[in-house]
């Protein structure tokens, strides 16, 4: 015979302070788990959405996988457009975007500064970078810039400093912010975009970093790769944009592994904290447990009731933690080497947080309950 469901529920209310403390401890553990999972999910999502299967990047063979270090001749985009049939062409506009991409120190009006990512672009860039949307203001004119949604996070400055109409200073020049853009969470969102020619002049560069080209529907990037092999004088290499970000994901694999390790360590610490709490909770109930056995309840029924209490408490803690994470943590911008991303408390994160919380409840309740049940009833009834 099982103990009534209400018994476990009422037991939680019988010791409100202890219950509240356990609930707080469990909620904190689950929040920590959610923060770490949100970090990993945000990083993964940024690298996953940063890439279009139809876009191929052509850059310098000597820069390996760092496009920031790439320098190619300015004639490359026009050569690509003229030589490769598989490049998308609409109304005689070849969809090739010459871009200069570099990291540089950016200073705000209030002299706050940070390391920013600046991309010199042309009017053809939005034809290739199809995820980019202007969300406020206008496309920049000469001497002006438009900033990504997460540019402030990348620079480590306040959002007010990158409001439209404010100025930024980089490469020895002042730039007025004319627009703001979003890119569905892609890496560009942490960048500052300006006219290619302006950036070349300011940075005293005559080259570009890369050419991004949009393939015609159904076309293969192999033709671009063949062009790069044939034009050995230009020292080019090509890569599908999605593949480029997949390689970056591999680059960030140790960070993700570290993140998952932290999740496990935090969970383990939570289990031990839970165990400690439950031990002390059950230790004070030895006589109660013995009495239940004396009046005929089987050990299994009592164990189930104690686990029920633990799971109830842990589930409530998981719900509180999820709410806290969704309201205060979701969407928080985090800086990393190639830009910024937002912590992402999505369904997967909530599921992991919920599972960890429930496990804490089960694993935390079982050992002390088993220990209490193992002692003889006669001895336990006499316990103080």
């Amino acid at each position: 015979m099982l103990l009534p469901w209400e018994y476990g529920v009422r037991n939680l209310a019988r010791r409100p302070l202890r219950t509240a403390l356990t609930l707080t401890a469990l909620s904190t553990v689950v929040v920590l788990v959610l923060v770490v999972v949100g970090f990993i999910r945000g990083l993964e999502q940024t690298l996953k959405t940063s890439g279009d299967t139809s876009v191929v990047l052509v850059y310098s063979v000597s820069s390996k996988e760092n496009i920031e270090n790439s320098a190619i001749e300015t004639r490359v985009p026009s050569l690509l457009g003229a030589s490769i049939q598989s490049v998308f062409n609409r109304f005689d506009v070849v969809h090739v975007s010459p871009e200069l991409y570099q990291g540089t120190r950016v200073e705000s009006e209030s002299n706050e500064s940070g390391f920013g990512l600046v991309r010199g672009v042309t009017f053809r860039t939005p034809l290739v970078r199809r995820g980019v949307r202007l969300v406020a203001g206008t496309w920049p004119d000469d001497g002006e810039v438009m900033v990504g949604r997460l540019a402030a996070a990348k620079l480590g400055i306040s959002d007010r400093q990158i409001a439209i109409g404010r100025t930024l200073r980089f490469e020895g020049q002042e730039w007025t912010i004319r627009g703001q853009f979003a890119a569905d969470g892609a890496a560009y969102e942490s960048e500052i975009w300006c006219h290619l020619a302006d950036l070349q002049t300011a940075a005293k560069r005559q080259d570009i970093s890369m050419a991004a080209l949009l393939l015609a529907p159904g076309a293969s990037p192999a033709e671009v790769a063949l062009f790069c092999k044939e034009r050995t004088d230009l020292e080019l290499r090509s890569i599908r944009e999605t593949e480029y970000y997949e390689r970056l994901q591999k680059h960030y694999r140790p960070i993700r592994l570290l993140g998952w390790t932290i999740v496990m360590l935090v969970s383990a610490a939570g289990v031990f904290a839970g165990l400690n709490m439950m031990y002390s909770a059950v230790a004070g109930r030895v006589r109660e447990i013995a009495t239940l056995q004396a009046i005929g309840y089987r050990r299994r029924a009592i164990l189930l009731s104690l686990i029920q209490e633990g799971v109830l408490l842990a589930s409530a803690a998981s719900l509180i933690a999820s709410l806290v994470a969704l309201v205060w943590i979701h969407g928080t911008a985090v800086r990393f080497t190639m830009g910024a991303f937002t912590l992402r408390i999505d369904s997967v994160a909530i599921l992991i947080g919920g599972c960890v919380g429930t496990l804490l409840g089960i694993l935390g309740a079982m050992p002390p309950a088993l220990r209490a049940l193992r002692s003889p009833v006669a001895v336990s009834l006499k316990a103080n």
């Binding site: 049939q85 598989s86 159904g218 192999a222 033709e223 790769a225 044939e230 050995t232 004088d233």
Partner: protein, 171 residues
């Protein structure tokens, strides 16, 4: 009735307009078996890549000899094409422990003037849409002799649309 006909024609127009065929730049490998491209015996008169870059003109039929390599990844993914380097250019010896000796990492400055791109083409002259490794079984530093039509550009780059290939055994 006229309106119905107009709608049908407009719909057909949209369908035809939207069903653009993908750009066809390479033929499928099934059309041209790799074995058919391989020669049983080595052709005579093969010239080294370095010499070819000095003497060969565009549209000239050539027989070139060289080693597959020139970069970490000398093969083009998705098209049967690769680069070959003149045999005279030294590469890392096995005892140096270099994992990619075919990239000529120590002698890259010599590669520039001693490299050619080989595109394996079918009877129609279209590059074959398959990796050369799978098609004819070559690897980095395989010694190959290729026959085909040369193409030169203003920058001096040499590419050959190869129709026949001989792989020196054991190399």
């Amino acid at each position: 009735m006229k309106i119905d006909l107009f709608i049908v024609l407009a719909a057909l127009g949209i369908l035809v307009g939207c069903s653009g065929s993908p750009t066809e730049t390479a033929s499928s490998p099934s059309a041209s078996s790799g074995k058919a491209l391989l020669l049983a015996s080595e052709p005579d008169g093969a010239i080294p890549v370095g010499e070819a870059r000095q003497t060969v003109q565009s549209d000239q039929e050539v027989t070139l000899v060289g080693l597959v390599g020139g970069s970490t990844e000398p093969f083009v993914d998705g098209i049967a094409a690769f680069t070959i380097v003149d045999e005279s250019v030294p590469y890392c010896s096995p005892d140096e422990g270099c994992p990619t000796p075919w990239d000529y990492c120590c002698k890259q400055n010599q590669v520039q003037d001693n490299i050619a791109t080989i595109k394996i083409v079918d009877e129609a002259g279209s590059p074959i849409a398959s990796n050369a490794r799978d098609l004819i079984g070559v690897e980095g530093l395989s010694k190959v002799v290729v026959q085909g039509r040369a193409t030169r550009d203003d920058a001096g780059n040499l590419s050959v649309a190869a129709t026949k290939i001989f792989i020196r055994p054991g190399e």
